[in-house]
């Protein structure tokens, strides 16, 4: 008998077709809005039309009188139960329903619970709110201006609009290298506000049962266990009586990490009415009130030596958080992992200063398809790198190459304290340059220029920290960022696996089974994977920041190894030999001296319930909690070529090449799917996807007609390449991948357009790189900075 064939059983490296697809392609997914509970009522939210205003009065009498209306909640109702405000995941507070004033357009003011959603919507319109408008702040400059109105007057000790001031790095040492630099390259950049906009909006169904005191909440959350803890704290309910179920989720991208007022209001409504209450957000509600991302201004400087070496980095970032600091960031790092910038370059000195400010905009700064501000960090890094190469008159690929951390320099400590542990940066760059045909393209570009055509090539190379955390450094609200897996092998050798993560399209039901197959030799199809129910899943921190494979995936490997260790003892018993004489090959234990005498893992499973050795606990089940020793550091090189039409400013992507090194790939098909999805968001970010506000704080981009997402038509074709450097500390050598392309991609597009404009005097056009901005830059020879101006009737 020989070992089982790993690819055949759907183990590691198999592009196994996805298990979850079986229900999705039949229209049998189970998303929150698909769930119907007996006696269920429907909740709608009335939102503020103004960005900053005092609430003088709320008259809900007409709403109450409408047939079919069961309950109207206002700030007053909430306040009477001490629920008008809730703690956020970043030690701030956020209004559930406004009591004193509204602080952004779209803020939750009242809720109506009715027999059906149409009645609830009608009744919202019947509520009369008397507002007294206040001056509106829509950007950091206004927010920090002398005499600016205080947005958070609800907070004791808050005398200005600053959320935090934070710094990291060696200021004096960095200043010294800047004094010695041959060239100092400076650039000002803006990463505009954007919204993750998963196609499914947020929603919840709260179901409180007075008889059992149990509260069950079905909810679009990427982190059900954190929500359970938050609900226990906010609603002061005993934690064992709270069950959070995260059913199928129609995309998350960070939008479904925070706790939103709608969840809390639906819970209170269910407690008051003792009936299930469903809240399904509409798209406008989603875009104007939940989890924005980005919105950071940066002043960046690089100290350079003439030969191209970077001596030091200075970054000064100002983050616009909106009215509440409600995005989840690890408690130690106020501006997330912004200081992971430049981790792939060998730079001795660095200093970062960051300031967060309040404005009259929806709470923002969520990690939209990234680990905590890493997207902004890498975009700034790669724009600064390209500007510096241009300032030195050096080739942009060569400039990167001479500054890369070399393959034999690992582990490498960055000046901001991260430890990178593996990578082949130069090789990835070479693969990318080769794939795009770098030298030939440069010639083509030169030729084209002679005929007035503008071609450009943009590169973005970066390593990013994925998979928080290690518990020494990473926690959210004090809860350490470990994760978990529980594996139950049934007596017939079939298995049930549960983890503390929560899939939203990443395919955990498929890939986790592949890890078990790899570790135990059980066919992947024999392993059922479940996630998202806090009554059954082991405690975990959920899925975001590309942490599933680095943390929960590692826990899956570790729990499988615990199972294998016990199975080995059972095998020794069945084979009547001592444990030391037992050898393992995939799916089977055998006698070292007699390889054809053996027992399969399935036979061990049966024996665990029917014929265990004397003194052994029966059963074959275990659980593992995994606290990673470090983050994982995937590397990526994205290269884009474009042609810019000088007459219109329109730019077209000619080719898009991606080289990703995410270590060992569990399911190559799924990895590639993640990369392509991320690159599309990167393209969107560079090209069209942004949300801005007029001077009154009106959100421009409150629906998909104004907030542009790329369709199949615009999205460029993608060419994928791969390098594999296993993660040295991860049990199966894997690194995170879900976010690399969205993180590293945007700079490649912008760099390509800037490269096409090289020689015109234009150094920067801030995203979105709309054709009219390119046109303006070409006409004036000047940079185009900040968010595009809003054209209103008045202007």
């Amino acid at each position: 008998m020989t070992a089982v064939d790993e690819i055949k059983i759907g183990g590691m490296g198999a592009s196994r077709r996805r298990v979850e697809d079986n229900r999705f392609i039949r229209g049998k997914g189970n998303y929150v809005d698909d769930i119907v509970l007996p006696g269920m009522l429907h909740m709608e939210i009335l939102r503020s039309p103004l960005a900053h205003a005092r609430i003088k009065s709320i008259d809900a009498s007409k709403a109450w009188a409408m047939p079919g209306v069961r309950l109207v909640l206002t700030g007053e109702t909430m306040a009477a139960r001490n629920l008008a405000w809730m703690p956020t995941l970043s030690y701030d507070t956020q209004a559930v329903l406004a009591t004193d004033k509204v602080r952004f357009q779209g803020q939750e003011v009242a809720c109506v619970i009715a027999d059906d959603p149409y009645i609830a919507k009608d009744a919202c319109e019947a509520i009369v709110v008397d507002y007294e408008p206040l001056p509106v702040i829509v950007n950091p400059t206004q927010s920090l201006a002398e005499g600016a109105p205080l947005i958070r007057d609800d907070k004791e000790n808050q005398s200005n609009n600053v959320v935090y001031d934070w710094e990291v790095g060696d200021k004096d040492g960095t200043d010294r290298v800047f004094d010695q630099a041959d060239v100092i390259s400076k650039i000002d950049l803006h990463y505009p506000r954007s919204h993750p906009a998963p196609i499914e909006c947020c929603g919840s169904i709260a179901d409180f049962n007075r008889a059992t005191s149990k509260l069950t909440v079905y909810m679009t959350t990427q982190a059900p266990h954190i929500i359970r803890a938050a609900v226990a704290l906010v609603a002061e309910l005993p934690e064992q009586m709270i069950r959070i179920i995260s059913p199928d989720i129609g995309g998350g991208f960070g939008n479904k990490v925070p706790v939103y007022p709608g969840y809390v209001a639906s819970i209170l409504a269910s407690i008051l009415l003792e009936r299930p209450v469903k809240w399904i957000e509409d798209r406008t509600g989603n875009l104007i009130s939940t989890g924005f991302a980005r919105d950071i201004y940066l002043h960046g400087e690089l100290a350079l030596r003439k030969d191209g070496r970077i001596l030091g980095v200075r970054m000064k970032a100002t983050a616009d958080h909106g009215a509440f600091f409600s995005d989840a960031q690890p408690s130690k790092f106020k501006i997330g992992l912004m200081h992971s910038a430049f981790a792939c370059y060998d730079i001795p000195n660095a200093h970062l200063e960051a300031r967060g400010v309040y404005t009259n905009k929806a709470p923002g700064g969520v990690a939209y398809r990234c680990s905590f501000r890493v997207t902004e960090a890498m975009f700034f890094q790669e724009r600064m790198v390209q500007a510096a190469a241009d300032d030195l008159g050096m080739d942009q690929a060569e400039f990167r190459r001479i500054n890369f951390v070399r393959d034999d320099d690992f582990p490498h400590r960055t000046p901001w304290g991260f430890l990178t542990d593996s990578g082949q940066y130069g090789k990835c760059l070479d693969v990318g340059l080769e794939a795009i045909g770098y030298e030939e393209f440069l010639k083509e570009k030169e030729e084209a220029a002679k005929r007035g055509r503008l071609l450009g090539i943009g590169i973005s190379t970066m390593t990013e920290p994925l998979g928080a955390g290690n518990s020494r450094e990473y926690d959210i609200l004090g809860i350490k960022m470990f994760d978990s897996a529980e594996l139950k092998i049934h007596m017939t050798g079939k298995a049930l696996l549960r983890t503390g993560a929560k899939t939203q399209g990443q395919g955990h039901e498929t890939t986790w089974a592949q890890i078990v197959a790899h570790e135990l030799g059980l066919p992947a199809e024999d392993i059922l994977v479940e996630e998202g129910d806090t009554d059954t899943a082991p405690f975990g921190m959920g899925t975001y920041a590309s942490r599933s494979t680095p943390v929960a995936g590692a826990a899956v490997a570790m729990v499988s190894r615990k199972i294998r260790a016990k199975a080995r003892k059972i095998a020794a018993h069945l084979l009547e030999i001592s444990e030391e004489d037992v050898e393992w090959e995939l799916g089977r234990f055998y006698v070292r001296s007699q390889p054809d005498r053996g027992v399969t893992i399935q036979e061990c499973a049966m024996a665990a319930y029917s014929n265990m050795p004397d003194g052994m606990e029966p059963g074959l089940e275990n659980v593992a909690y995994y606290d990673p020793p470090n983050l994982t550091w995937p590397f990526a090189c994205y290269i884009v070529t474009v042609e810019v039409d000088p007459e219109t400013g329109v730019w077209d992507v000619l080719r898009l090449v991606a080289v990703d090194d995410c270590g060992v790939r569990i399911n190559p098909m799924i990895v590639e799917g993640q990369i392509m999805g991320g690159l599309t968001e990167a393209y969107a970010m560079a090209n069209m996807q942004f949300i801005t506000f007029d001077e009154h704080g009106n959100c421009i981009g409150s629906n998909f007609t104004d907030y542009l997402l790329p369709t199949a038509w615009e999205t460029p074709g993608i060419e994928l390449h791969e390098v594999e450097t296993p993660c040295p500390h991860h049990p199966i050598g894997a690194k995170g991948i879900g976010e690399c392309a969205a993180v590293g991609g945007p700079a490649a597009f912008v760099n390509a357009v800037m490269d096409a404009l090289k020689g015109t005097g234009v150094r920067n056009i801030d995203m979105p790189v709309f054709p009219d901005r390119v046109y303006e830059a070409l006409q004036t020879g000047q940079d185009v900075s900040g968010a595009p101006p809003v054209r209103t009737d008045e202007t």
Partner: protein, 174 residues
Amino acid sequence: MTSLFQEVSPGAAEETPTRQITVTVNGESRTAVVEPRLVLAHLLRNGLNMTGTHTGCDTSNCGACTVLFDGKPVKSCTMFAVQADGHEVMTVEGLAGPSELHAIQEGFKEEHGLQCGFCTPGMMMASKALLDENPSPSEDEIRWALSGNLCRCTGYQNIVKAVMWAARKLEDQG
């Protein structure tokens, strides 16, 4: 919406105008009493308990709600249920035969044309409308035909491949 939920409040029933409609959904004749303002997507989801048709926006942009209306793709969030009276509607639930999947469903699975699955029913219905008209579309034709459907997960490339896979399979089946 009076007929869509088991219980109505006193007053609601009298005040609300309703109409009885009959729609053929996936080949089966279905009758419901609906408010004239009820949109078709909600009739399918809430009234007929066919939750495969999703809604993802308020503005006819996302296409998650795409169904076939007398064989043509429509956004069912943008039609009233009463407009479907006497017409034929096909939803994702009607794609598969009793024992086997439709080639489009197989193609989406084979080519990893879905991740979270939320856009998928709409994408598949729009793909069906395309292949019914044009059995061997080019990449550009597929991209154009699906440009009314948004996907946030896949980047579309695998969706294009999925449709091509289905086109090949349908051609092989004759």
